[in-house]
Amino acid sequence: MNKNLSKVIIQIFLISFVFLALGPILWAVVTSFLPLSSLTAKPIDLDPTKFTLTNYVEVLDTSRGLMSGLINSMIIATFTSAVALTVGSAAAYALARLSLPGSNAILLSILATQMFPGIVIAIPLFIVMSRLGMIDTHLGLMFVYLSFVLPIVIWILKGFFESIPIQLEKAAAIDGATNTQTFRYIILPISLPPLFATGVFAFIESWNEFFFAIILTRINVKTAPIAISEFAGQYRTLYGQMLASAVLASLPVVILAIIFRRFILEGFVEGAVKS
């Protein structure tokens, strides 16, 4: 009896969790398909026959900035995660296995990078990039995103590389493989899950970033989050468009997170255990 009661309570909690986690998102998705007249009706008019794609068609109009925002975000996030994985996996392997002098100091400073408020580096970066003509360029944002994605990539991958049995590399060395070959043909292929996890993580972080994007871009390289914020401007009242732009810009990362859920979830567990 008591057991059943606690089961019921747990079920209730689970249902409320699902409701609270997905409710706000579902609400935004559903209402993004409604015309303004339904949204501003009292009470809100949820008549499904009035569902329309107008909001989506309008925000995707090339003059509205969301389309180019999505493309810019795609370019920046893809390159950032590719470079972060290449540079990061090499560094992580060196720190995990190549008995580098000062590796502890490097690791600690990598960890410390997570603690900086963005604004501290944003001001000097803005000045330097203005001088170098890197404001409003893809390259400029990529460098900045690399700086905060790279440490996490290195940290997680280092933990994983350390968990690979050292015998594997010894065997390869005895067979005459060079260090680079060992890394390329033995370590990397068995590290695909954490590589995917960190790659997806890097992509999502760079895709979603807003603070530096608003400081370091003007017109040409507006990213998707900037486009959303413009649709959500303080005195804007086109609620449907604001919601449609948020849904569209969230779709790629949410889908990525769902597809790679196993890698991400395992990456978390792995990372938490190893760190």
């Binding site: 747990i10 969790f17 609400w27 408020p117």
Partner: protein, 313 residues
């Protein structure tokens, strides 16, 4: 069989010195790109920001003019009511945010660690709010909080709690708390996943032993779960404090700092002073104060990690 292994071990000894050297060379080669990037994009700006905070920086025709003003910017901080307001807001926000996120995430992690909550679907559900862009999250809540057409007011009026509804972002302290709620909602998934990983690392047999000793569920929680989660809890509290101090997107989209500067947090103030008021030196000084606050938290983080690493060795 033994012949080959004999020869290979001779080979191994002969090559050991060279092998070590090539390892070192490769190690440096492998770390160099990452170190260069981090030095250029992090180390240089941090030092530069420190120097800027002692300067008066103006944008004049043709470029940026700087003038050394000593501690002026820092002195100004202590007299600036806007700074004090942002500081208090940030401390309140961070404190309440961290407590709320930690307690709710711990509860949720325990729920999802229970046999009934184990199905993977629940963890996937956690990933969705986590992956959402903070700006999209802000838009979500902006719509929910909308005074005229928001669903929150529809609920409040429907339940008869208020006749006309509440202007959620209309008064300073209420607006700050509404931003807080939106931020807590977004932060819970990550911390819950961290705590879940921590829960799964607690050895099963400890619970069995506790059960045999006749421990109640509550006693198990206090004497097995909490001590086992200690490190994970400290890590998540420190990380969450750092993230709460960095909140920007929500303020930018929901209130732009208003009403009456009620939702101006330190990060936002520094941005506004620098990039709206173009008071770059003073903005840098505010940023450096925030930096010191976070550095203290970072030291706490590194300390929290230390006992674990020494225990592993």
């Amino acid at each position: 069989m033994s012949r080959t292994s004999f020869f290979s071990s001779i080979n191994e000894i002969r090559n050991a010195g060279q092998y070590q050297r090539s390892r070192l060379k490769m190690g440096i080669l492998f770390t160099l790109p990452a170190v260069i990037i981090l030095l250029a994009v992090l180390a240089y700006p941090i030092i530069s920001s420190f120097i800027l905070s002692f300067q008066d920086v103006r944008l004049a025709a043709g470029g940026i003019v700087t003038e050394f003003v000593g501690l002026d910017n820092y002195m100004r901080i202590f007299q600036d009511a806007a700074f004090r307001n942002a500081f208090n807001n940030s401390i309140y926000f961070t404190f309440v945010e961290v407590i709320a996120v930690t307690i709710l995430s711990l509860g949720l992690a325990l729920l999802l660690n229970h046999p009934i909550g184990r199905p993977a679907i629940y963890r996937v559900i956690l990933l969705i709010p986590w992956a959402l862009a903070p700006v999209a999250n802000a838009v979500l809540w902006k719509w929910i909080y909308n005074a005229n057409y928001g669903v929150l007011n529809a609920i409040v009026v429907g339940l008869g709690l208020s006749e006309t509804g509440v202007v959620w972002l209309g008064s300073p302290f209420l607006a700050l708390n509404m931003i807080l709620i939106a931020d807590v909602w977004k932060a819970i998934p990550f911390i819950t996943l961290l705590l879940l990983a921590g829960l799964q690392n607690i050895p099963r047999h400890l619970y069995k032993a506790a059960l045999m000793d006749g421990a109640t569920t509550w006693q198990q929680f206090v004497h097995v779960t909490l001590p086992g989660l200690r490190t994970t809890l400290i890590i998540s509290i420190v990380l969450q404090s750092i993230w709460a101090l960095k909140v920007f997107d929500l303020v930018f989209v929901l209130t732009k700092g208003g009403p009456a500067d009620g939702t101006v947090l330190l990060n936002f103030l520094s941005w506004r002073v620098t990039f709206n008021y173009l008071n770059i030196g003073y903005g840098a000084a505010i940023a450096d104060v925030l930096f010191v606050l976070m550095l203290l938290l970072a030291l706490a983080y590194i300390r929290a990690l230390r006992p674990r690493t020494s225990a592993r060795k």
